[in-house]
Amino acid sequence: MRRRDRGVVLVTILVVMALCVTVIVAMTTRSEQATRATGRDLDAAQAQALMAAGEDSALSALAQDLLTGPLADGPGEPWTRVAQEEASVSLGTFTLEIWDEAARFNLNDLTESTPAARQVLGDIVAAAALPPEVAARIAAALAGGRMLLQIGDLGPLAGLSAEEIAALQPFVTCDPVSERPINVNTASEPVLAAILRNPVLTKRLVDRRAVDLITPDVLKEMAVILPSGLVLRSDFYGLHVVATVGQARVEAVALIHRWTDTYGKPHAVIAARRLGAA
């Protein structure tokens, strides 16, 4: 090899190696991107599976409750134990809240514009420390028969502020079933008082349920006959599930409806579901 050609082999090898490295890096990068995308899809699928598992556990517990405790529903029963504060599971984190929808006044009762429903709403608005015109605005917005799908819609429909809606939220709900009775065992004292309109009886029931669940036998022992619109049990429950796996987060609020068929078989199904925050 002549003196001036020395080093050509090294340059050629370096060029070939550079080309090889470029191809390998490009392929590895694409492979990593595909792996990451698949991982994200997997996380989302697992978060959804966790959410479905939470819903199924609630449905199962509520259907079972129709067999084990059909006469009264309240705190301390097995269905309340499916609730789960945020906990780490092998996949990520999981939270489940469950509550009795019959503990709250159903605003959709106002779509039929009955005086009794308007009166109950007036009392609840007063209990929430809101001015009486709030009740009038809500009643006017719903009097046309428009079914409310979410409490938050009281903002655009009735002109309520976010603070007013937050103050009302513990006492009201909006279920797709009208004239659903209120459960004495789970209703808050203001809701119970608004339905009963009898402070003495309200106090007696609240004091008694603090000791144990009010069943038909307990009512008999107390010599109390419940007025219409009040019951000791419920067939509608609310559910809030949050599941997080990796970067994926799934949150859903659902309404559960349960019933016993003519053969005595219990059923519990999701009657409504909304993805996103409660």
């Binding site: 191809v23 392929m27 694409r30 595909a34 995308a37 899809d41 989302a44 959804q48 799908l149 979410q150 938050g152 819609d153 655009p156 429909l157 279920d175 797709p176 079933v177 509608f236 859903a252 659902a254 309404l255 409806h257 019933w259 016993t260 068929d261 003519t262 199904v269 999701i270 009657a271 409504a272 579901r273 909304r274 993805l275 996103g276």
Partner: protein
């Protein structure tokens, strides 16, 4: 004898040596190119397949998000697809969005928007040859027509232009009924 075997340091390679070296390099080069070309082609095909699979999965994911939030009793079969009301809000409106899935021009279209406004139209996937919808209700078999407000499931059989068939069942929230009246 000894002189014949010794090569002058300034002399080059013989023609035969150069030709043999070129042939060896040519064979190695052709083999390497063929391997690289095959690898790149496989990568292209795999990527295209994965992208298509991902697109179909996204379609199913979007439809699952819509159907799990469906308002019971609002599902309707249209000449070119289905429509229903679902939970959620857009444009600062009230809760409730009208959603429709339609097959048009070989693509699956999704329309979504509040009942009071024109819907947003988007292609969710292309290359669709046909869709068959069927509906389920408790105690009934799968039907071609919506059996009524008690419908609790929708089956979608998607035939892609490439000939593959995909079947997916979406479970719907169920209508609240009064068991006493049943």
């Amino acid at each position: 004898m000894t002189k014949c075997l010794r090569r002058d340091t300034l002399s080059g390679l013989t023609l035969v040596e150069v030709l043999v070296a070129l042939m060896v390099f040519a064979v190695i080069g052709v083999a390497a190119f063929a391997m690289l070309d095959q690898t790149l082609r496989s990568d292209r095909i795999a990527t295209a397949r994965l992208e298509r699979l991902g697109e179909v999965q996204r379609v199913m994911q979007i439809m699952a998000i819509d159907t799990v939030q469906a308002v019971p009793g609002t599902l309707q079969l249209q000449p070119d697809g289905i429509s229903f009301l679902r939970r959620g809000r857009m444009l600062g409106g009230v809760e409730g969005l009208v959603v429709a899935y339609r097959l048009a021009e070989g693509s699956l279209w999704r329309e979504i928007g509040p009942a009071s406004a024109a819907p947003v139209r988007q292609v969710v996937t292309t290359g669709v040859a046909g869709i068959v919808w069927r509906f389920h209700a408790a105690g009934l078999d799968w039907q071609a027509a919506v059996p009524g407000p008690e419908v609790d499931g929708v089956e979608m059989v998607l035939t892609l232009a490439a000939g593959e068939t995909l079947r997916r069942v979406f479970v719907l929230p169920q209508d609240v009924f009064d068991p006493v009246l049943e």
